[in-house]
């Protein structure tokens, strides 16, 4: 009997692993249609903003993004699918938004863009949009392994007054309901997303903060190593899934 149960459990865990699904499919059809049609997807407004910023010099002496990187459609294709990546200069993992901030500061010689500010979200959306439809492909280099391991351990750690880990909802109870809402598997496929609740675009880190506040834990700071580690782990967990940016979520 025990063996049968063990065999059944093994089957179940394999089935769960195979049935990875984007949060897109947990939404009602109208919201899915909103994401799929660019004329209805408000996230495209941020992509258009980012496109304008791509070609604009942040200060008269600086070069624009386009001056170095050229046409984003080719130069930025697949970039977001590989982030977070290891930054040799810092000796640490860096997320896509962090890389844009770094470029703006060191190469364009301008004031760094604020996390969750309109400009950074627009540029990140524009860059990530160039990878839409491509599979998430985290880099295999050694530098990212430590970050991923740290991210995984945070993902498994119970946090806050409610004493809940990410895994307890998004692995153990994904697909079931928390109050009226379906618990998604938590794959970061569409970031930055247009969240209907926010009535605007926000980053994965903002979304993670929402969950941390929800379990009454003190959220990590934007751009912190802990957030980038979770991001790196989640991207590995979603390896091979399609980039959807700009995603719509409820």
């Amino acid at each position: 009997m025990k063996r049968i149960i063990a065999a059944l459990l093994a089957c179940c865990s394999v089935a769960v692993a195979e049935e990875r699904r984007s949060g897109l499919f947990d939404m009602r059809p109208e919201a899915q249609a909103m994401q799929r049609d660019d004329s209805m997807n408000p996230g495209m407004l941020w992509v258009l903003d980012g496109e304008a910023l791509w070609g604009r010099k942040p200060n008269p002496a600086a070069q624009s993004c386009a001056d170095c990187h050229g046409d984003a459609a080719s130069s930025m294709r697949g970039v977001a699918a590989r982030y977070p990546a290891f930054d040799a200069a810092q000796g640490a993992a860096i997320d896509l938004a962090g890389r844009i901030i770094q470029c703006r500061e060191t190469r364009q010689g301008s004031a760094p863009l604020a996390r969750e500010g309109q400009e950074l979200l627009a540029l990140t959306s524009y860059v990530a949009h160039q990878s839409r439809g491509l599979p998430i492909a985290p880099p295999d280099d050694a530098g990212m392994r430590a970050a991923r391991a740290q991210g995984q351990s945070i993902y498994m750690t119970q946090l806050g007054q409610l004493d809940l880990s990410c895994a307890q909802c998004h692995d153990d109870n994904a697909g079931r309901r928390l109050a009226g809402s379906v618990i998604p598997q938590g794959h970061p496929t569409g970031y930055p997303i247009y969240r209907l609740e926010w009535q605007g675009v926000g980053s994965l880190q903002r979304r993670l903060r929402g969950c941390m506040v929800g379990v009454r834990a003190e959220p990590f700071a934007y751009g912190s190593a802990a957030f980038i580690a979770i991001e790196a782990f989640l991207m590995e967990r979603a390896r091979g899934m399609e980039v959807e940016t700009p995603g719509i979520r409820p």
Partner: protein
């Protein structure tokens, strides 16, 4: 100028039903929400949307503070003749924007 996403057919057969979609970037601040300091943020909404087909009003909507940011409006009309289709949004703080597209009816 606010960013706009418009979907308007460029051509249609006479008498056909055509669908138009208009999405505009706007905060639609209700006037009921306090900011981080506890002070009520003043209302800033779009309160009117009008579509004119060759000068004639074919669709008009009055928007209220309950409508979400970046309002999306989709509607249909009948293709009668070639001409300009204009979309006008009017709102608080002198917000006014007009976008025009041309349709060829055969």
């Amino acid at each position: 100028m606010a960013r706009v996403l418009l979907r308007v057919p460029t051509s249609a057969e006479k008498g056909a039903v055509i669908e138009m979609r208009a999405l505009i970037q706007h905060v639609m601040e209700t006037g009921y929400r306090p900011n981080a300091e506890g002070v009520l943020q003043p209302r800033d909404i779009i309160w009117n949307f009008t579509c004119r087909y060759d000068g004639e009003v074919v669709f008009n909507a009055t928007l209220s503070p309950a409508i979400a940011a970046n309002p999306f409006i989709a509607f249909t009309t009948i293709a009668t003749q070639s001409g300009p289709i204009s979309f006008t949004w009017e709102g608080d703080n002198g917000f006014a924007q007009t976008e025009t597209r041309h349709i060829t009816v055969t």
